[in-house]
């Protein structure tokens, strides 16, 4: 059987490649693209269309970072990850950053050795129930069957909440969001629990969204944000300040439409000048070109634009800004100054 093939060895010879030792940023510049871990498919946050183009709220962060580092929002490759594989993918260097609605928790930050660079969505765990069930509060859920997605913080929150309120429930763990919907819609569980944004996104796709209510209780804090590995502060800074640039752009009124014009020459507002690189040379301090933020904003828009385009009120998902409004509008979205 000499003719048997040896693709494995060939591939091994061909695909052994060096990974991030110290400088993720240099690696990315050298290989010419950013490798970004996203979810396997969550409406509005990350999903691929029929042509395999990824889009969504989390995906936009990846694209913004790619635009800031490489000047090209398309120079990014997406690795779909599950709840189980996401942290290993990041820890092992398979992806450069993770933008996969991941909750910032103490354990993940400290024990699992990751660096959360910020929060791009303030979320909380909520419940959705059919209107016909007549439930108005999570406290009424004694004995209910509840669908939860495994591999997330939600199942721990749920156990804690019901335990502290001393009510019983029947957990039904499901692996994916689409599975959860299937079970919920067919009545195999009474209540669906996940992050409130996910509930809204899910409800938006129902045939009759009006038949379902999201209960008022939010039982946990779920600050979702992009994360990178511990120990590469320079790279963490790049991702952190790209996210901040998107947020600052909205605050300062810089949009994808006017950014090229505003970035041509220095204007009256020094903070805009510093952000767009017409003054101060902030980009060089990050190890990027000075028009890094301009590129990012031009590619995906500012934070508000990303929000409106992917999950905002005019999309099928229809999320209002709520906690995710700018701090000037009573929300929590706030960036340290560009100075």
């Amino acid at each position: 059987m000499k003719k048997t093939t040896f693709l494995g060895t060939v591939a091994a010879a061909a695909m052994v490649a060096g990974v991030a030792g110290a400088g993720t940023l240099d690696d990315i510049k050298a290989k010419g693209f950013l490798q970004c871990g996203v979810s396997t498919g969550l409406v509005g946050f990350a999903a691929a269309d029929a042509n395999g183009n990824w889009g969504g709220f989390d995906v936009a962060v990846c694209r913004a970072v790619a635009a800031a580092v490489l000047g090209d929002a398309q120079a990014v490759k997406f690795t779909p990850t599950t709840g189980k594989t996401r942290f290993t993918a990041l820890a092992s260097g398979e992806v450069d950053m993770l933008a996969r609605n991941t909750t910032w928790t103490f354990t993940r930050d400290v024990d699992l050795k990751f660096t959360f660079v910020g929060v791009n969505y303030y979320d909380g765990q909520g419940f959705m129930a059919p209107k016909s069930l007549g439930v108005t509060s999570a406290k009424d859920l004694d004995g209910a069957t509840i669908c939860i997605q495994t591999g997330t913080t939600t199942e721990l929150n749920l156990a804690d909440y019901f335990r502290s309120n001393n009510i019983s429930y029947e957990p039904v763990p499901v692996e994916t969001n689409s599975e959860a919907q299937q079970q919920y819609l067919s009545g195999a569980c009474d209540v669906l629990t996940t992050d409130a944004s996910g509930l809204a996104a899910t409800r938006a796709t129902f045939e009759k969204p009006g038949d379902h209510v999201v209960l008022p209780e939010i039982i946990s804090k779920e600050p979702l944000g992009p994360l990178v590995r511990h120990g590469d502060d320079n790279w963490a800074d790049v991702v952190r300040w790209t996210l901040n640039a998107l947020i600052a752009a909205e605050e300062l009124g810089v949009t994808s439409a006017n950014v090229s014009e505003m970035g041509m020459k220095a204007g009256n507002n020094p903070e805009i000048n510093r952000l767009l690189g017409t003054e101060g040379g902030l980009g060089e301090k990050l190890g990027l070109s000075n028009d890094w933020a301009k590129n990012a904003i031009a590619a995906v828009g500012n934070y508000g634009e990303i929000f409106e385009k992917n999950i905002g009120e005019n999309t099928p998902i229809g999320l209002s800004r709520g906690l995710n409004a700018q701090w000037t509008n009573g929300g929590l979205i706030y960036t340290p100054p560009f100075r």
Binding site: M1, A13, G41, G93
Partner: protein
């Protein structure tokens, strides 16, 4: 001469048609469907079951919509066409996504220049030219192995196909697979030369050591050098863009083909008299067969990275292929061991009496016969492995089942289940069923007994 009166009839009567109860459909039904009371009950029960299944399934399949942009649109179309209570299949999702289910996110028209690779193809070629060509060439490469009537010279193409197929699919410099192939050429040369000079054992050792040294130390540089002198290449395609049935076939075929030689070695090891070698082989085989594939895939996706030096990373598909190969090798070893055990002891004794040493006896006498006996087992191992490739969806690879999740993640197709599973199941059925028929054909052909 008196006139003879015959006491028996002298001419034949014309044949009569058998009575209706002994021939024709009624008789057939009587013997095959209603031969006894219990048989009649079974028949009626089967007819009722068949009716229920078909009456539920057929309207759903045919009261369907092929042209719609989303699930809701689909439902409206079906209600309009077949009445308000009708519920039918929304095949429109297959129509929109069948290319994705077949190829994943593989770019249909890879073109343009990147990293200095000269594009050898543009938008002028038909879509998915590279994977399609690879698939057709795979059939060509497999055909001399599958059908013994074809000329043996074609096996040379089979030998270089893996490298060609790899290059066509993943792209990049042509010199990488060429230099990898050189390793095998070197192995052959080393075996010939060193074997002649120092004896066959050293030849075997050299055939292992030389290519490994070549791959580790030199082949990368050689490939780079040749690329800089004669740049030939295709646009590289990332592993994360592979998906759909293409991915299943890549993993399945590579797994089975690579596992075959490993399985042969393991089977020989398990039959060996050497205690340590035997213990290692038995331990390996039983360990792999004792754990579910899914745990091995977890190892591939989560743990394998830890077992390698910090600066080495393997491509995700490659990691999965490695674990799948290890998995298949253990099963393959058992199949081949069965083949070896089925050989009459006289074959071994005859080889010994001819004065052949162990390797010659194995190579010339026992292994060819054992492999021949094992072919049906190998095919069924392959069918099992091909079906098991669906498990890679659990570790977020985009195989057909993984893609169904992704498609349902699209707001338009949220909540669609049966159509996708039905389609994927149907395609798997077509593949596996034809392979099992092929295996039965082989079994009949190879049957040399009476």
């Amino acid at each position: 001469m008196t006139k003879k009166v015959s006491y028996v009839r002298t001419e034949m009567l014309p044949e009569q048609t058998p009575p209706l109860t002994a021939a024709g459909p009624i008789a057939w039904m009587k013997t095959n469907l209603f031969s006894s009371i219990s048989n009649s009950i079974l028949t009626v029960a089967a007819i009722i079951a068949l009716y229920f299944i078909l009456s539920g399934l057929l309207p759903w399949i045919f009261h369907s919509s092929w042209a719609a942009g989303s699930l809701n649109e689909c439902r409206d179309v079906i209600k309009e066409a077949y009445g308000p209570d009708a519920s039918g299949a929304c095949w429109a999702v297959i129509r929109e996504r069948y290319l994705q289910l077949a190829y994943g996110f593989y770019p249909p028209f890879p073109g343009g220049e990147m990293n200095g690779f000269a594009p050898m193809e543009g938008a002028s070629l038909p879509g998915y030219f590279r994977p399609n060509l690879t698939f057709i060439l795979m059939l060509v490469a497999l055909s001399p192995i599958l059908f013994s009537a074809l000329p043996r010279k074609m096996l040379w193409f089979s030998a270089i196909y893996p490298f060609l197929g790899f290059w066509l699919l993943w792209g990049g410099s042509v010199w990488v697979p060429v230099m990898a192939f050189m390793g095998f050429v070197l192995a052959g040369l080393a075996f010939q030369i060193i074997g002649k000079m120092f004896g066959s054992l050293f030849g075997v050792i050299a055939a292992f050591v030389v290519p490994v040294l070549w791959w580790i130390a030199l082949s990368g540089y050689a490939a780079d050098m040749m690329q800089s002198i004669v740049p030939v290449g295709l646009l590289p395609i990332e592993s994360s863009q592979f998906g759909g049935f293409m991915l299943s076939i890549i993993i399945g075929i590579t797994g089975i083909v690579v596992s075959l030689p490993i399985g042969v070695v393991l089977a020989l090891g398990r039959q060996s008299d050497m205690v340590i070698v035997k213990a290692l082989c038995v331990g390996f085989i039983e360990f792999i067969r004792g754990v579910p594939l899914i745990t091995l895939l977890f190892v591939a996706s989560v743990l394998l990275q830890y077992f390698l030096p910090a600066d080495v990373t393997f491509d995700k598909i490659l990691r999965v292929v490695i674990m799948v190969t290890i998995f298949a090798a253990a099963y393959m070893a058992e199949v081949i061991r069965g083949g070896l055990a089925a050989l009459p002891i006289g074959q071994y004794e005859a080889a010994d009496s001819l004065g052949l040493d162990y390797w010659k006896a194995t190579r010339l006498i026992t292994m060819p016969q054992a492999l021949k006996i094992s072919i049906p087992g190998i095919v069924s191992t392959f069918i099992g492995l091909f079906k098991d490739t669906t498990l890679v969806s659990v570790i977020a690879l985009m195989d057909p089942i993984g893609l169904t999740n992704n498609i349902r993640g699209d707001a338009n197709w949220n909540g669609i289940v049966w159509e996708l599973f039905g389609f994927v199941g149907f395609v798997f059925f077509v593949f596996c069923f034809s392979m099992s028929r092929y295996s039965m054909y082989l079994e009949r052909k190879l049957k040399t007994g009476h």
